[in-house]
Symmetry: C2
Subunit: 520 residues, 2 copies
């Protein structure tokens, strides 16, 4: 936390920022006090957002942007970051009025500019002193599940130590009447069994009588989606919430009502924080299970001449009962569906003390984690087993179309398998800036250059740029007729026909109806 | 088929009908010829519905009821039944203008009266001669999957012999240009790999050149739901269809467009009958999987003080992505979800010749089949393990609320478990007339009488009559304070509180939040 020599935090855009040393600590503390005092005089509540990551940064801006009927801001927001090499750069970036996240949503730069420079209701800080000043702390610390082996998610667990340390920091600093509102997806039971006891312990150490001043803790999970509606997916969307007691619940209700569009998306109160925590992981498990179901049917469709995507479209017309049906793809990535069933399964025993095993839920994680191997098999079979020296180009590295987010991307799994089988692999993505984990395989340079000499082109992610590709151009860039692999119905029938006419073989996950190439 | 002595067919209402003997065969044949001739002169197509069961009877009436813009019927329908003890009674019942199915839907008696007595476009027959006269045969024969052991659905199979015999009958009689439209849920591949070859074989035997006159076969599955919208769930609902060739496909399209409300529920054409067959079983598997997922979460909720139904309601607000979420219950019954994944899994190897195993799908069947054991455990635990001599009343024997359909009802599974554990069990259902399989346990007599002396009352099915029950009346009828078990959120919070105040223990699937009884 306090480096002996000034250390550097490197922003994704390449600019370097010097970490603050202890000598600047007092100055920042004074700034926090002064600003907080000014803001309180303006009648604003003081909110600290703990963790300015993917959710916290945007949530912080939304809170800072919220106004009452007269156009007066409800809150001033201290966005808190740890002064680490990985995160510190966000402090100066945010305080210059720029977002610390890259996004397709035009609201993102606008809301940061407005709140930081114009309304002056948002400021980033690395100093824990901010917690002392908070009326409300919104917890947006990252919390991961660890899956030791791919395909054995039942052995997955959650290491709560860093998260708990974050809670301990709160307990050491916050006013006893401050609300701790947890937005992080946590293993069910965390608010009751982890956070509350830690806060109580730290309060007692500070001489606070927790019988009279019980910690105020609530849970309300976000449903953020990266992409064009990033801000809106937090602000204009349904929210579930619950508190550990009536006061906490009511404080959470008032806060959420002030900052979110509850007129159009009414709040849903649950009876306990455990219920709210379960809701989040159950909700994501529901999706994970529905995706997992599709893989074996994709295999069946491929071997029986059927286009499973058409079948799914025909079923989804049943609105209300069947229109949530998911489709097969390269695999499942992102931060939620890949871990939430694991968090729940681990918590069932470790936090909630039950003997319940969420087998069906956890199985879905295994199926989804291993889903990229199916595309690998499709490629391998198409080249008659020998991938040695073959040039394969994966189009798309992110886990979602039109988003540059590579967290747990299935493209990485496929890349590893192909590389291990001896293929020369290039992973292309115009929306991803760098991806060091993929070594030299990753490129966001000119697509035509990447495609040169390709023996196989894999449509892994449905980025608009890829959907727009003309078969003629792909074949021309490759300089040969590569195998075309469509991972999730990204190619229209018309395009498939074009590729076949050009002499390409075309294969697709769930697409058993494709014949060809033409003339064969 | 031709009994030596006149045999009897017994209708559910108790009336006996003598099976027709061979001497009446010629008379019926003449009647079929005469009526068909008259109807053809009126410009009507001749449709034979093969199998007048739960779907066929109502589909037959809908076809007979369909009219063109001038109010002229498109078709005359021969509803065909086998002259068996089990089915024959339907012939005279239908021909008297009455429906052969019991239903809550007021359209049912009306449509049979109208078509048989008024429009005279529907008549039942037991004579195979009808097939010779058909322009279209709609196949609604029942087809089951067999699961040798409960909980091992992967060993399930489909015996196609009776179904194939039905197809052979068609092949022996139908005009080569007649369309065979299969509505039955069949193992994927059946139209291509079973029906078409059988028809070809029989055609060839009759000297028909099948190269010039290939059998015309199409598949279009119903999505019928018993209950108040029985007719409407066939006529005013989406349909998927496909044919084995272009002519079959077009004939099916014209027929379905004439008889269904395609203006509001457009037809969905798939490329092959196998795709359409897969769509049906995949669609039901989707539901089966979503229900199966809920059981382990119900267990978790019960052990962690959470009401899972509230959690599910809070998630289902996410329209379009999460509102298809299902809820836990006593179990899954009915004719579709209990068998369709098994049909698909069996067909994957046996008809489609693939090595695909639909493990995740089949696992859902096992979970759902065994789901009633969870309610059994709840009861057993509440009575501290000893069910010997305890009086248990199950409210509901059907598989669905407000319907008298007991096919594969989970109440039967629970009844067996309770009986084997030594309990005295009464299964009550006001909508079910008889259920011989349940021996003396089944009753549809006065509910208060059934409840007398109950140690436990299980709300197994959400019939309106049960939802309306007042806790005071239940306790009064029992003459004691029975354990109350709520299998799927049938009791409001208010009612649960009332039961607790009356001194009852209340338990519920997925309801961990219930405390009590009051004062304990």
């Amino acid at each position: 936390m306090k480096p002996m020599t000034p250390a550097i935090s490197l922003a994704p855009h390449g600019k370097e920022y010097q970490l603050r040393g202890p000598d600047e600590s007092e100055k920042e503390k004074e700034a926090l006090d002064r600003i907080t005092d000014e803001q309180q005089k303006l009648g604003r509540g003081i909110v600290v957002v703990q963790g300015m990551g993917f959710v916290g940064a945007v949530m912080g801006a939304i809170v800072a942007d919220a106004e009452n009927g007269k156009g007066e801001p409800f809150y001033f927001v201290h966005g808190h970051l740890r002064p680490s090499r990985r995160s510190f750069w966000k402090v100066p970036v945010i305080n210059s009025g720029k977002p610390p996240v890259k996004a397709d949503d035009p609201e993102i730069p606008e809301i940061f500019r407005r709140c930081v420079l114009e309304k002056k209701t948002l400021r980033a800080t690395w100093h824990d002193h901010a917690y002392k000043l908070a009326d409300i702390v919104v917890v947006d610390i990252q919390l991961d599940a660890t899956k030791p082996t791919l395909g054995r998610a039942a052995e997955g667990y959650c290491d709560l130590s860093a998260f708990s340390e974050g809670m301990r920091t709160l307990g050491r600093h916050i006013k006893p009447e401050a609300l701790v509102l947890v937005e992080t997806t946590v293993p069910p039971g965390t608010c009751e069994k982890v956070i509350k006891p830690i806060l109580e312990e730290e309060f007692e150490k500070r001489g606070i009588n927790t019988a009279e001043n019980p910690p105020r803790v609530a849970h309300s999970y976000e449903r953020v989606m990266p992409g064009r509606r990033y801000v809106s997916s937090i602000r204009n969307f349904w929210r579930t919430y619950a508190g550990v007691d009536d006061v906490s619940t009511e404080l959470a209700r008032v806060f959420l009502s002030n900052v979110l569009d509850v007129a159009h998306f009414p709040l849903y109160r649950l009876r306990s924080t455990t219920a709210s925590e379960i809701a989040k992981v159950f909700e994501n498990t529901y999706r994970a299970v529905n995706i997992a179901l599709t893989l074996e049917w994709a295999r069946l469709a491929e071997k029986s001449g059927v286009n499973l995507f058409e079948v799914i479209r025909s079923i989804r017309v049943r609105k209300g009962t069947h229109d949530n049906m998911c489709r097969p793809s390269l695999g499942v990535g992102g931060y939620c569906l890949t871990k939430d069933p694991v968090l729940a399964n681990w918590a069932a025993a470790e936090l909630l003390g039950t003997d319940v095993q969420l087998e069906y839920a956890v199985r879905s994680v295994d199926i989804n984690d291993l889903m990229p191997l199916h595309t690998f098999e499709i490629i391998q079979e198409a080249v008659c087993g020998d991938l040695g020296g073959k040039t394969v180009v994966l189009l798309g590295a992110s886990y979602l179309e039109d988003v540059g987010d590579t967290r747990h991307s299935p493209s990485a799994t496929l890349w590893k398998k192909l590389r291990d089988a001896g293929a020369e692999v290039t992973v292309h993505d115009p929306l991803v800036e760098t991806w060091p984990e993929l070594e030299e395989a990753f490129a966001n340079k000119d697509l035509a250059q990447c495609l040169k000499g390709a023996d196989a082109v894999v449509f892994a992610v449905g980025h608009r740029a890829y959907l727009a590709l003309d078969p003629q151009d792909v074949v021309r860039a490759a300089g040969k007729t590569p195998l075309i692999v469509d991972c999730s119905d990204f190619l229209t029938e018309e395009k498939i026909t074009k590729y076949l006419r050009l002499g390409c073989s075309v294969k697709g996950v769930g697409k058993g109806h494709i014949r060809g190439p033409e003339g064969t």
